[in-house]
């Protein structure tokens, strides 16, 4: 991501010039997805990326590969099988006891070595704490470009390059970033930004094994302990099917109860905008948007939310969006499915009641 975005307009429009790839980079072929896993479970962002990587690979006419690194054993190998189900043609597998836990040093060496040995043109990672830690290190080691937190990935067919789109700071803008004469072209994408493809359990692929070639004494950082989160008390917005969210337009923390009431009737999770979280009305895990969670529910009800781009990028992929806002010009009406222009304080209770009745008739019908 270039500081260029800070200028009032991009100085160097890349798309228009005829572009010649450095012949030394022509051998870089194929799309890779780093398969992230922790405690025996693959992170779904890897499979979301696999779906996206499949499209990019097909456009380029190249194979799609998964990169699996971890402790030796069937569990690690199972991630390769899963990668095939989600669309990979092959997997690069690196098994080593030193990689049982994520640590920057061995993972950076492992991934950098794989890239240098097998030369992919595109490398995608999840924008998780692990993925960002690793991507930044690998990109610097390889001296290549990395575009963080992309919301859209495309191939610019004119020069076969990855066109990565991401929201840019402050105002309501998006920018598309390309990495021309450097390989691989790296990008990270946040969880839930891309849709999860349907796995095909009949798909298989080939495995290419590679060794890490490191000893524990070379690795400076030691993991003393791992304290798993207590998932029970954490809201699970990213996978919720229904979300009722409130913004600053709810005016007072007491009014937020109206959001909770509707959520309760719908069996929904409660979401919020950043100002609401910063005011302490709800906890950080409920923030939806660029610096919060990305969600893809079937139904998203937004009350008193203006629809700033930083909020929009976190919930734009919802199937149905109902927006309640007193300002008919609020940007949220640009991307909502249904808009109600009016006071959330009176409309929310009415909606709650209407849904309650609707659900009661449903229950009778079932």
């Amino acid at each position: 991501m270039s500081e260029e975005t800070e200028k009032d307009a991009p100085k160097k429009p890349a798309g228009r010039r005829k572009f010649e790839l450095d012949p030394r980079l022509a051998s870089y072929k194929g799309v890779w997805v780093f398969v992230e896993h922790e405690r025996g479970v693959a992170h779904t962002v890897s499979w979301e990326l696999m779906g996206e990587g499949r499209k990019l690979a097909d456009t380029l006419g190249v194979p799609l590969a998964g990169v699996v690194m971890g402790a030796p054993g069937i569990q690690t190998r199972r991630f390769c099988e899963e990668a095939f189900h989600y669309g990979a043609d092959l997997c690069y597998l690196m098994e080593d006891p030193l990689m049982a836990d994520y640590r920057n040093q061995p993972f950076t060496k492992g991934l950098t070595d794989l890239v240098n040995a097998y030369q992919p043109e595109i490398l995608l990672l999840g924008a998780t704490t692990l993925g960002r830690d690793l991507a930044g290190s690998v990109a610097t080691t390889l001296q290549t470009g990395l575009t963080a937190d992309c919301t859209e990935l495309n191939i610019d067919l004119e020069n076969r390059s990855l066109a990565a789109t991401r929201p840019t700071f402050g105002g309501s803008l998006l920018c598309t970033i390309v990495t021309l004469n450097y390989r691989p072209q790296m990008a990270t994408v946040r969880p839930r930004v891309m849709s999860l493809p349907k796995p095909d359990p009949t798909r298989t692929g080939s495995i290419v094994e590679h060794t890490l070639g490191m000893t524990e004494s070379e690795i400076v950082t030691k993991v003393l302990e791992y304290i798993p989160d207590n998932l029970q008390d954490k809201p699970q917005l990213p996978f919720a099917d229904i979300i009722v969210a409130g913004g600053r337009g709810m005016k007072r923390p007491e009014n937020f109860q109206l959001i909770w009431d509707l959520a309760k009737v719908l069996g929904a999770e409660v979401g919020a905008t950043r100002p609401v979280v910063q005011a302490g009305w709800v906890e950080l895990d409920r923030q939806v948007g660029q610096s919060g969670k990305t969600v893809r529910p079937k139904l998203y009800i937004a009350a008193g939310i203006s629809g700033a781009i930083q909020h929009r990028v976190g919930m734009d992929a919802s199937d149905v969006i109902i927006a309640i806002n007193s300002d008919p010009n609020a940007p949220i009406f640009d991307f909502a499915t249904y808009g109600i222009v009016g006071n959330a304080m009176t409309i929310l209770p009415a909606l709650t009641e209407a849904f309650r009745q609707q659900l009661a008739t449903l229950k009778v019908a079932v």
Binding site: M1, R39, Q143, T147, D156, G170, T176, L351
Partner: protein
Amino acid sequence: MHIVVCIKQVPDSAQIRVHPVTNTIMRQGVPAIVNPYDLFSLEAALRLKDEYGGRVTVLSMGPPQAEAALRKAISFGADDAILVTDRAFAGSDTLATSFALASAIQKIHEDMPVDIVFAGKQTIDGDTAQVGPGIAKRMDLQLLTYVSSITDLDLENREITLHRRAEGGVQVLKTRLPCLITMLEGTNEMRFATLPNIFRAARYPLKLWDKDAAGITDVSKIGLKGSPTIVSKVFAPQPKTIPAEIIDCESKQPKDLAVTLLAKMFTRFPNLHEDIAKANA
């Protein structure tokens, strides 16, 4: 102990507006602030100094105006401040920025050895979270991102123990100095500036380094030349192709409105019935 904290001056993006016609960012009158995420790292550094002694140097790369951010850091209690500023840096992306900052830290280190470098988790303008890891790799420092607390520092054995946020839990890590730490947001609260420090900040003779002073000889590594990524297009988000169906309040009671909405919605999206029933189960 010597700690370097990298801070960036950023426009207060909450106040940035986009020109409706030209689609460019209107920066006039937008106040510049210290990147909010950097304050968690600065505060963590100051706490280490309070407990173990030593010096805190703040470092920034940017235009001359960025000195305001450094003076702010001095008012919070930083000892020294260096602004790396040179036209040659214009257009730097994260790879070029981490190169320039790493060179400057190397220079600082030659003067007074550096034990810990802090960076923010990410910036609110660049927002890449890459500059920290980039500096660590270039200087061969142990990289510790998303740190929620520093539990122990053993200066004699040059070891540090800390908690790092992972996706599904917290890693307790022990590593050796020198290292680079990025703090997680919300893990501490910036102290208030004291009156003596505010006076000191106003008078402090800030060090301005150009690229030579920062020890940069290879200009192909900085600015546009040293930046692999190029912005090819900036554009406003598009409205959905199917516009929202607006249900106006004027004419209806909230109750009728809600009923109308549900009827419309369940007709157009019949599967929602089942989804809601499932969520309720």
